[in-house]
């Protein structure tokens, strides 16, 4: 643990967090723009060309607004909950590989750290994400918040199971929990044209993963914790100003995280055609990664613009009676095929 290593790692973290926060701000712009066009509107147009400076204006507005703490809240938890939500959302990016191993001074620059248990790390961090929401709902001293918090904890626990089980399929194919190895395992192609991506053998697993990931991030059609028509705004009803913005930030960071994980697990990560001079060859994988993540974010917005919200009992029934058995069946099937392929 020498000094240059620490400095490099800190630098990587700063760069990733900065890029991520910018990306998240523009995800909001992207969502507003895409949904607007789906609904025959223009979306943000006033601030900057194509409304491109809108995120900046939003941030300034949110920071300068008055921060109201309602009476009767449990202050410490009330203040800590949004921080918890943001921290757990950001932590996922510690293990995401953005590009192939590229060394600069003996240190990999495209990934903060390559853990042996990368996938488990992601699962454990995202399983802690529920606390931000549940504690926010509890400490706000409001009926709507409490109901929102309760709904979200029930929903997140239910869908986490299906998510964990669907990922097992990928682990079985790879034989490792390290995200870099998962991506390396997907290089190459079948018959020179079909990329060797996990989504092809694991299409059931991918379906389960993506559906439960949408539920985990509380997005439509699973956004019952903050269903406006029933719960005002759910767990963040009582939050204002920057604390509200932190929940907002956590939600969009989680969306980006899910898109990154889905890209890494099922769509070959940074793999894609690489050509041209050396400088281009270094940058191209990053571009492919970015485009894949963008495609997932588009799907998120697309689903939001298309589907109505589930009823609560439908949500639970769908999670427990359909998604979980499907993920289990996929796991059994995959392990059977792997056993036949590699077993004696």
């Amino acid at each position: 643990m020498d000094l240059p290593f620490l400095l490099y790692t800190l630098l990587k973290i700063v760069v990733v967090v900065f890029a991520l926060l910018t990306a998240v701000a523009y995800t909001v712009w992207f969502e507003r723009k895409v949904v607007a066009h789906m609904q025959s509107r223009w979306g943000p147009t006033r601030v900057g060309p194509y409304g491109l400076l809108q995120p900046l204006a939003d941030v300034i507005k949110l920071i300068t607004k008055e921060d109201i703490t309602p009476s009767g809240v449990f202050r410490l938890v009330y203040l800590a909950a949004p921080c918890l939500a943001v921290i757990t959302a950001l932590l996922v990016f510690a293990v995401i590989p953005f590009g192939p191993r590229t060394e600069m001074g003996g240190i990999d620059i495209f990934q903060i750290t390559d853990l042996d248990i990368g996938l488990l790390f992601i699962l454990s961090v995202s399983s802690m994400g529920v606390y931000g929401i549940a504690l926010a709902g509890w400490s706000s001293n409001s009926k709507y918040s409490l109901l929102g918090g309760l709904r979200s904890s029930a929903q997140m626990i239910s869908y986490e199971l299906a998510m964990g089980l669907s990922i097992v399929g990928v682990v079985l194919l790879t034989g490792s929990l390290s995200l870099r190895q998962v991506v390396d395992n997907q290089s190459g192609s079948w018959w020179g044209i079909i990329p060797h991506w996990n989504v092809i053998p694991q299409f059931i697993g991918f379906f389960c993963y993506f559906v439960s990931a949408i539920a985990e991030t509380n997005r439509l059609p699973f956004d019952l914790p903050e269903a406006e028509t029933e719960l005002v705004a759910g767990y963040h009803t009582e939050y204002s100003s920057m604390r509200f913005a932190m929940f907002f930030l956590a939600e969009y960071t989680n969306m980006t995280a899910v898109s990154c994980v889905a890209t890494v697990l099922y769509f070959g990560g940074w793999s894609g055609p690489v050509f041209g001079p050396e400088a281009l060859q270094t940058v191209l994988p990053l571009l492919w990664f970015f485009l894949k993540v963008l495609a997932f974010l588009f799907v998120y917005v697309w689903i939001r613009g298309t589907l109505p919200r589930f009823r609560y009992d439908q949500l639970m029934a769908f999670g427990w009676k359909f998604l979980l058995p499907l993920a289990l069946a996929n796991m059994v099937l995959t392990s059977f095929v792997q056993a036949v392929r590699y077993g004696g």
């Binding site: 399983s127 409490l146 309760l150």
Partner: protein
């Protein structure tokens, strides 16, 4: 420097675990207890990590913090806390507590006495990092398959028991 850090980590984590555990059982508000319990469990995960048992640390977080404690919180949030806070905090089972704690202390004391040189403060395993997920899998599914399956059966029985208890009218 290099030799001081591990024991520093150990003592910091141990303090965190002990303090949070004590606070967990002395809080009047059940939600506060759960929050302190989370801190205890996080400390234990930290100890696993300190011993280079990454897999156990991750599982500790996923199962205990991300699963069981969320369920605790979920149930407690539904319970009328004002009512609960008025009740007596300690249920007056002092005799049983003292007997259990005494037995545990006697056992621990006996082992420390017998194997004084066998005990040493936790130091992380040296050498390069080995992925220990595979080793755990081999131990669980090959060397100790029967106990593992029996334990899972026990859990299943407990689960069915809970379902039976919760159901009001059995058909």
């Amino acid at each position: 420097m290099q030799s001081v850090l591990p024991s520093l980590f150990f003592y910091a984590l141990a303090t965190m675990i002990l303090v949070s555990a004590v606070v967990t059982i002395t809080r009047r508000n059940a939600v506060h207890s759960v929050i302190w319990l989370i801190s205890t469990l996080l400390g234990i995960a930290g100890l696993f990590l300190h011993q280079h048992a990454e897999f156990l640390a991750a599982v500790q977080v996923i199962v205990y913090i991300g699963g069981i404690t969320v369920l605790f919180l979920f149930v407690i949030m539904l319970v009328n806390l004002d009512e609960a806070a008025k009740k007596k905090q300690f249920a007056g089972q002092w005799k049983i507590v003292v007997i259990c704690a005494g037995a545990l202390l006697a056992e621990l004391g006996f082992f420390i006495f017998k194997g004084a040189e066998g005990f040493y403060f936790a130091e992380p395993a040296g050498g390069s990092l080995q992925p220990n997920t595979q080793l755990i899998a081999l131990a669980l599914y090959r060397d100790y398959l029967l106990p593992f399956e029996l334990a899972s059966l026990l859990l299943l029985v407990a689960m069915i028991g809970a379902v039976v208890l919760a159901k009001k009218d059995l058909k």
